[in-house]
Point group: C7
Chain length 73, copies 7
Amino acid sequence: MLDNRPLSVLNRNIGNHVIVELRYGKEYRGILDGYDPHLNLVMSDVKEFIDGEQTRTMSKALVRGDNVIYVSP
Amino acid sequence: MLDNRPLSVLNRNIGNHVIVELRYGKEYRGILDGYDPHLNLVMSDVKEFIDGEQTRTMSKALVRGDNVIYVSP
Amino acid sequence: MLDNRPLSVLNRNIGNHVIVELRYGKEYRGILDGYDPHLNLVMSDVKEFIDGEQTRTMSKALVRGDNVIYVSP
Amino acid sequence: MLDNRPLSVLNRNIGNHVIVELRYGKEYRGILDGYDPHLNLVMSDVKEFIDGEQTRTMSKALVRGDNVIYVSP
Amino acid sequence: MLDNRPLSVLNRNIGNHVIVELRYGKEYRGILDGYDPHLNLVMSDVKEFIDGEQTRTMSKALVRGDNVIYVSP
Amino acid sequence: MLDNRPLSVLNRNIGNHVIVELRYGKEYRGILDGYDPHLNLVMSDVKEFIDGEQTRTMSKALVRGDNVIYVSP
Amino acid sequence: MLDNRPLSVLNRNIGNHVIVELRYGKEYRGILDGYDPHLNLVMSDVKEFIDGEQTRTMSKALVRGDNVIYVSP
């Protein structure tokens, strides 16, 4: 049976495209490269959106887990 | 006798439809797939509501426990 | 002599009606079914009030302890 | 010599009238029945004041320590 | 050589007059009676100031460390 | 295979130029000299931007991890 | 090779002049006397600035680490 605990779901999605919504109306879309138990996330080919408008692209970003609202694979 | 501690109640509701209310006027409705002791939740077939209006659907989402106000099975 | 530490008081009130006041002007009234040391609370037959107006009823709710201001039996 | 560490001062005041000021302009006045190391407080014969106006009385309340600004015996 | 770690400085100032500035524009002035590692402080002969105006006197107060901005001996 | 956990990514970028976005519209750009598991960061040749405008330069700065939104190498 | 972890950088700057920026537009400038792993800082000959205006001088201050945005030697 599939392990659906939060960190297992992150683990299964390494290499996949994810949407990461943060507080402050910020959203990061890109490939999930890594994570840790605090939900700190390493992403690549990242597009930042603020209040729905694209504001920045980054080849790599470490997003702090504290501000995460959800991660959607 | 039924175990009514918070994590046991989450555990009994795996596979069931739940309403998750977060800070910031956000609400997520969907199937509870998994959880961890921080109340991080994995959900599927998720509908997001902001201030009562449906704003997004997601096939899967990991919702960070920090922002949870309540989970209602 | 009666044990009046916080968790003991919660424990004695399992099965009783309680008022739970949260931040954000939210209040939950219902039966206390369970709790954990973080003051996460499981309640049944819950009425939600926002700024004093009843806004929702839930047969069951797990209320996250972080947002609790007080619990009154 | 008197032990003046915070928890010892709470312990010496069990059974005494205390003023508990919280964030959000809230104040609780009543008898201190119990406490724990997180400064969660159990009180009885409690009067709630918001911005200086009495708003509620409760025979018993468990006040979460997180929101405490000060406790004054 | 003098030990200037934070808790040692608090310890050396037991019995001395201190100014404790908190968030929310609050300031407490009085004698430092005790403390713990969370910077919870026990004070006596306390004057409360809000936005620079004296608002209350307390013979004793336990001030929660979470809200402290600085303590000045 | 490359280790893409958050702290490993920081470690690989020691000596590189990074962009550190914080809450409060603050951004720090400079060389990453060091870090710890709380994401506290030591930087050199730092330029501070507030809401996109350069406001300060510092030869060295220890930036507290709590306020970090992301670090981009 | 120089140890550039955050606490080591603080340690090397004991006795030096530092700028400590806090939340709430507050800044403290003075000599760093001591610190602990929470980034609580002991300073002497301290000048407080609020929104860039000098507002207070203190011969000694223990600044709580929680509110620190950065420390710049």
